[in-house]
Subunit: 131 residues, 6 copies
């Protein structure tokens, strides 16, 4: 179970409820996943983390699906079980198909492979790549 | 310098040249970056790695730009200097603007942050996320 | 279950028991956690690891609580489930409050974020930071 | 050089200058390090990152020196060259002595070692550690 | 459960069965582990990954046991639970004894420790090590 | 330069010189690489780290070359520049040929790839792999 436990909506302070409400409204959902309920023990971090994510994941130069794919790619690279589970769900909600998931993981796997090949061979950066 | 040195086109075997030629043709470019020149000491790995990348990075359910963004996201997560430099270049070639780069890094940074928050708080996976 | 199984006190050799005894005495506890029982299959590594930890975690220029917080920070960064669980317990025993845990994780999360932002933007080290 | 270049104070917009000013005031310094100058190409990320760091690194349940030590511990674990250099400087400014640095790194090294031993031996979490 | 589920032999396409058959023949076994059944949703990745592994893990300048030990060392470093479990089994099949496992993990732990000590102390590469 | 500088033999205390002497004798060499000179500011860590490495890297169930290959594999996985450079040199001294290096890196790259594929697909551990 989460180290500090999970704070349910019914037991939450007004400050925490305000964040929960904003999460549900923004995501057009009627529930809160455990990540936020665990963070709720630290309302300042709960609010800051949510506001940062809301800002970062909003449509911009990159669309929301692309951002979710990147989030999942990072989570798989870091072997974060919770994040892979939750962001697989959110990526699917944003439009990720099974075929996209498979291609995404192929890229993630390959990048992790060549990252080590270039480090292991001590390859120096080409002058053309230096900005 | 790369551990085993770099093999230039002029000094390459026919087998290595064939891969170099395919890289240049596929990428519509007239040069080979150091990564491949370093791998060329092991022609089997050179060929297998190139053919895997060519297959994986081809347009499919995900477009080439999205794949390059994911590649760069993984490389930044892994702190791979060579890969960040080379895939920044290839992502730009695939259409990444400065605004996209900035948004990409914001997502990568945030994902790396929340990956540790969920692990550090020992958050358990929600039943709804279990497939 | 641990790959090589767990060696309980009753089944341990004199050499292993000596380490177990020292762990319990030093930590003022009456039980041994699974990590040591798993390592006990390799008495040399058991002894070396314990002696290193006892030396490193002793009060010095840094107090034991600070050291436990750092240990937990590293474990969360590495996504090590066992280590997060065990060092959350030992940090609490050393005095970590819930508020400290929350602030610790906020720092760990932020550091993991900016680590990727500086790598992703390829920021070069300021001359003033070069020693 | 940083991918998008560095934005000096003289060339910065009013929005960016406001962040730079706040950094210098908060840190009681008269210069801005490259990390912020690189982020300045994305004023929203510049502002959000700075405000998060200012909030997180402020004194609270943990003192500023402890937070800087944790930041450096994470950066060393992640092998982030820029972050190690910059946070060694900021930790020293917060009071880190050479002896503290040495003890910090000893803990970081040990934690990284035992993180792999527990994973490699597939040690299961003790019931007592389950919250 | 695996995100896309597992494809059993009885339900597999001819293309997937061909890979399954080759895995069982090459490994002299009569079953397929979950990793391949999960990948089977993407037959191109299934085939490419299997063919790469078969090529890479074949005896060459390094013998199969050494290769399995290295695979396990990487998996422990990355904290990949599935990979540690599966490659512990395959390393044992290739001849890894309990004593070898213990020595392997001791090396893996130590390397992870000194990797952070050299980064944390910002040690510069000796001229003699530059190729 | 290393954070705390490098301590040369001529400037070292008797305690540090004793470790330097043992390193040179054990490794049959007449020089000390920067890693040890950087650690020498903390004689306790210098001694403990050296004695651990000497014990761990000695011939046992695994031969010294295999151990050096594993050390290099971990270092490449962690993207540790200093460690890759220094352990490439020590692995060569222990007998690593160019062909072995190439095969080693192929295994390291592949393991890093499949580590992410199994995590990304959320593959569950087979019952047969549970010990």
């Amino acid at each position: 179970m989460a180290t500090l436990g999970l704070i349910e909506y019914a037991d939450a302070s007004a400050e925490v409820r305000a964040v929960y409400d904003d999460i549900m409204t923004t995501r057009r959902t009627d529930w809160i996943n455990n990540f936020w309920k665990a963070l709720a023990h630290d309302p300042a971090t709960l609010r800051r983390t949510w506001e940062s994510i809301r800002q970062i994941m909003a449509p911009g130069a990159l669309d929301p699906l692309t951002k979710e794919l990147v989030y999942l790619a990072v989570s798989a690279t870091n072997q974060c079980g919770y994040c892979i589970a939750s962001h697989t769900a959110s990526a699917r909600k944003a439009g990720m198909t099974d075929a996209m998931l498979a291609e995404l993981m192929a890229v993630v796997g390959m990048a992790n492979e060549t990252n080590r090949l270039s480090a292991g061979y001590q390859v120096e950066i080409d002058d053309r790549f230096k900005t």
